[in-house]
Amino acid sequence: MSAILPFVFLVFLVMAGALIRFIGKKISTKLSIRLMGLYLVILILSPFLAAFTGDVGDEGDVTTHVPPHHYISILENFQDYTLEDLKNDDYLAMLHEQEISVAVENFSEENPFIIFTSAHHADGWTDRDFENYLIVEITDAVDSVVITQFQQRAFITGIEITDQIQPWHWSLESWSKDNLRLNVEIQRSDIQLYSLWPLLQAFQFDESINNRTFAREMPSINSGTIHWIQVPEALPVNLQGRKPFRIIE
């Protein structure tokens, strides 16, 4: 991409030159001065306009001070929480709610419905292990398996990236001749951020900025996921996975 940029630059330069040449005869001196005046007015107003447009769409209650590993404290004390509590938790965002129909009559104690997960990940930056992310609730409130995914709200340098985190994909898969199991695949989240840098000359005489270089390490993501699975009471379930599940009965 970087090799193409000089050519793109040249093309744009030629286009700009041609445009100036073409429209130049039609732009009078007075119009030029007025255009420049208008541009200067917009420039002078730009700090206010930037502040105004930056506020539009801001929910106002967004907090960047999410307690570190908040989701772990919920998982550790899962008996104290209900699904509604998690939905109303300020530090959690509900990413996805998925309903998977299961024919209860096809399962029995000898042939139970299997919830299987080998999916886990240790985050590359924080080395946190996200194995223990499941809360399984056996309830008569549902007729099919309902999976609700929560994500601890994640911020990088003050920018919320929660909505860029991909929900994990749960699906039924056949794992033996006559049995089905619920399995999960983790979707990779491609997170895009924009950062605005200052002109270095602003810090020309400010020795507190070390060599006026702003290169920084890639930030870490302080976040984690909770999957609340509601299973119909009539469905015999067998849990298979890397770690014990957290079960509410």
Partner: protein, 255 residues
Amino acid sequence: MNSIIHNESKMTVAYGQFKDKLYHNAFSFTQLLALQALGYFFSFNASMSASGSDFYYLYIQNINPIPLFTMTLLWMIIQAFSLSGEKKREYYMVSNNFTAYFSDIAVLEVYALIIGIPMVFSGPMLQLLANLSLGPFKPEAAYEAMTFIHYLSLFITTTFYALLIGAGAYFLGILRVRYKSFFVIGSIGIIILLIAWSILGIRFIGPGFSIGFEELSNFYFQETNFFIWLIKIIGSIGTLYYLSWLGIRNLEVKN
């Protein structure tokens, strides 16, 4: 000819020419707008860094005003060349080399001051454009750390750098007008000399030998003491002005 304008002092004529050039070169402002637009475009595509794991991949698109700054300086170079080139066609009937020189320099200084304004507001303007096109986002910590002093520093440095670039381009423009084809030959000769110097430098001094735009710009950009920087920059601008004057003072103006 006994026109009463010949009774005016040189400075009065130069001032009149300055106002005249400023007004009649107003189309250059449209050029500035076009180059600024181009600069904003490239500032949004300045650079990108990426890193991640199997589950998270983070792309950071850096919006950097350096291309905008470069395009703005390019405008200054174009204007300096344009002003120095007008000597060829005897723009003013009452012009002499002093008034032409003085008014050119004054116009360039006004242009440098004008450049300072868009550069000071380049950050908020990029922020505004980013808000409109990318959605709300927070700027880099260093950008947020900027205070009034930093903005003032940005205005002063940008203005002086624009003056320096403008003075350099004006000097080259005067040489071009004065020496015409010899200027082209001389330019080629200097390029060959510089290449030869680089080759010989690496051959006899070693890989540590380095001379280029970066080393030259560091002479100004790496100076953190304001007064020493001011001496360097004013000294450089003054030298270029003086060299320009030497080039123009006995220049024969022809149609």
